[in-house]
């Protein structure tokens, strides 16, 4: 999943779960059914899971632009300098 997709997924997950929770409490209270609240919320959690957890294609529409191979060869990696050893007195 690309960066843009990850941001969208986080926001979608939070919004879907909060809305499921609110709707569940309101409907449950109005119909005096605790069971209704739990079922609506469970449905909301399953929906949020299906939308945000799998790596759907539309989360990969902004892929990372990796550096081209020819450009990489023009700028070699820096060499590691040998460390000086300080002896204990």
């Amino acid at each position: 999943m690309d960066w843009q997709g990850q941001k969208v997924v986080e926001q979608l997950m939070q919004i879907l779960l909060v809305i499921s929770g609110v709707v569940a409490v309101v409907v449950g209270y109005a119909t005096e059914s605790f069971r209704a609240m739990m079922l609506i919320y469970a449905g909301g959690v399953v929906l949020a899971t299906l939308v945000t957890v799998p790596n759907w294609p539309f989360y990969n529409h902004h892929p990372l632009k990796w550096l081209d191979q020819s450009e990489a060869e023009k700028h070699p990696k820096p060499q590691v300098v040998a460390k000086k050893r300080f002896s204990k007195k």
């Binding site: 990850q6 779960l17 929770g21 409490v25 119909t31 609240m37 919320y41 899971t49 957890v53």
Partner: protein, 167 residues
């Protein structure tokens, strides 16, 4: 959010947190329910009234209990536990409470009832103070929620009196 496991964990954690909030709201909503329970208890008969070998008084009663506890049930009620206690004062104890009968009411349909029984639990005093004793019969109830805070209250019915002599 870079991997399947990361996203699944984040979602599950957030979902459980929201569930906790929902349960808190459901419990809080119980404060707004209008509760108007009613009850009446009649003592139909004093079956017997003896002094035990160890010196404690014991009495057996036949009670007629009528109650309407339907208004105690809310959407967040799992069951109502009701019990009848005889309450009286002696020189040794400022309050004696002896439970005579109890019941678990699992549904609102069973909350309006009429029952005639002898006391389910024995009415034994600490001592021999029951002759001629004035006592109250109190119906207590505990509304046990599906989630959250339990509410308890009672109705005190006074004016009962035990006989002056053993029978």
């Amino acid at each position: 959010m870079h991997s399947f496991g990361y996203r699944a964990n984040a979602l599950l954690t957030f979902a459980v947190t929201i569930l906790a909030f929902m349960c808190a709201i459901a419990s809080f909503s119980d404060n707004f329910s209008n509760q108007t329970p009613s009850a009446q208890i009649q003592i139909l008969n004093i079956n017997w009234f003896q002094k035990q070998p160890h010196g404690n008084d014991e009495v057996s009663l036949t009670l007629n209990i009528t109650a309407d506890l339907q208004s105690l049930f809310t959407w967040n009620t799992k069951q109502v536990f009701a019990f009848v206690a005889a309450e009286y004062k002696t020189s040794k104890n400022s309050l004696n409470q002896v439970s005579l009968w109890d019941a678990i009411i699992p549904e609102i349909e069973h909350a309006k009832f009429w029952i005639q029984i002898s006391n389910k639990y024995r009415f034994i005093d600490q001592g021999h103070n029951l002759r001629g004793k004035d006592f109250n019969l109190t119906l207590h109830w505990h509304v046990m929620p599906k989630t959250g805070k339990m509410f308890a209250d009672k109705i005190v019915m006074s004016g009962y009196r035990l006989p002056d002599a053993y029978r």
